[in-house]
Subunit: 228 residues, 2 copies
Amino acid sequence: MTTADKAKKAAPGAADKPAKPMPRPLTRIQREKQDIILDAALDIFSVHGFRGATIDQIAEAAGMSKPNLLYYFPRKEEIHKRLIAEMLDIWLAPLREFSADGDPVPEIRSYIRRKLEMSRDFPRQSRLFANEMLQGAPRTIDMLAGDLKQLVDEKVKILETWMDQGKITRTDPYHLIFSIWATTQHYADFDAQVRAVLGPERGGDGRFEDAARFLENLFLHGLLPKKA
Amino acid sequence: MTTADKAKKAAPGAADKPAKPMPRPLTRIQREKQDIILDAALDIFSVHGFRGATIDQIAEAAGMSKPNLLYYFPRKEEIHKRLIAEMLDIWLAPLREFSADGDPVPEIRSYIRRKLEMSRDFPRQSRLFANEMLQGAPRTIDMLAGDLKQLVDEKVKILETWMDQGKITRTDPYHLIFSIWATTQHYADFDAQVRAVLGPERGGDGRFEDAARFLENLFLHGLLPKKA
DNA sequence: CAGAAATTTGACCAGTTGGAAAAAATGTTA
DNA sequence: TAACATTTTTTCCAACTGGTCAAATTTCTG
């Protein structure tokens, strides 16, 4: 039975021609397989980008045949769209939490920590995002110029208030946010480089703690020693 | 015997069968067309990555037919390899210039400026590099763990000396370098996002000057106001 | 300008790509 | 367990992919 058949059950004579598709609930198998596919696709898309990834590759990573995969996601783009949407949610969460209530120092510090944790715990999503940006954000530009810009503008106001109150140095709040994004995401997106440069000893799991300590210090105090 | 010696006209009867191919100098057309191809390829590779880019695409961007392009670069990989090599040279130049001679403040400041200028003047190269990193640096990992690591280790020593002398705050020099890379390259790699968030008024050419001012301030002083 | 060398074109190829269709197999539920 | 829906496999396709090759054309050199 296809979704299109749903109309036949309706009351006889009741004119529900313009009835909505009314998606039926997913079966257990659908839920499971979709998750497997999305996970495999994230592996591939985050490394090769949209064009560079192939359905065959994803299907193999998901342990199923290509037509079987296409049964769950009829188009390659569908998979990508879903992943992008999921990723944006994850990506934005830390910024949404950024609050005017707390004091600047703990607030900024914990924002940095959360973003760094994202790089540690969701590196594939970070790379998917980076890939999308490198391509000029063809599938997200509307969202960036809409929701994201609005959210950033809002948080910028908080930062400006703190600056007005002399709680933090007066500086460009937009570029401040960019620099937090850049420094934290670097550990996911440029992981290969970070590890290569740090070498085996310092490039292990501890690198995130080192980075957190360093970034906290950088953002709060900078490099110049405070005059006594 | 040096390789150059083999080129000279040997004695008439001298058996030089195992002579190397001895590449003949490039013609004018070869130089011109290769440049056009490399430029077009940089456009495509920097956006779509190696797998996502096609020879047809590059050929069209270069304004020539695919077989014609293949006459100059018999393999897709050749083009990519050349671009990567060129890019690494550009990418490393600012770090090479980083010197122990000057004082920390102007030295660090001008390193940041140079890296930011790279993002402004060579954004495609920066994106090519980013693409390569996102893929796990398959074609550059040796170079990263070799030349780059060595160079970084060397510059780290300079930073440590300055820290020993109390000229700059004691902090993790590796992560300091990472954060300079991250913040400056962000303006090339995430250009789409930067422009979207800044909006039309602030996202114009001036954004690089704003970024330079902000970053200088961040790296030197951080966000906390100095105690009087 | 003739001849040689360099360049460009068109026709072609085998493998890959995203995707369609239908049959076969498996699951679900009354 | 029979009837039905869901899932999987098999087969297939047209467009695209990286690349070859010989013929035609253009450029260079004496």
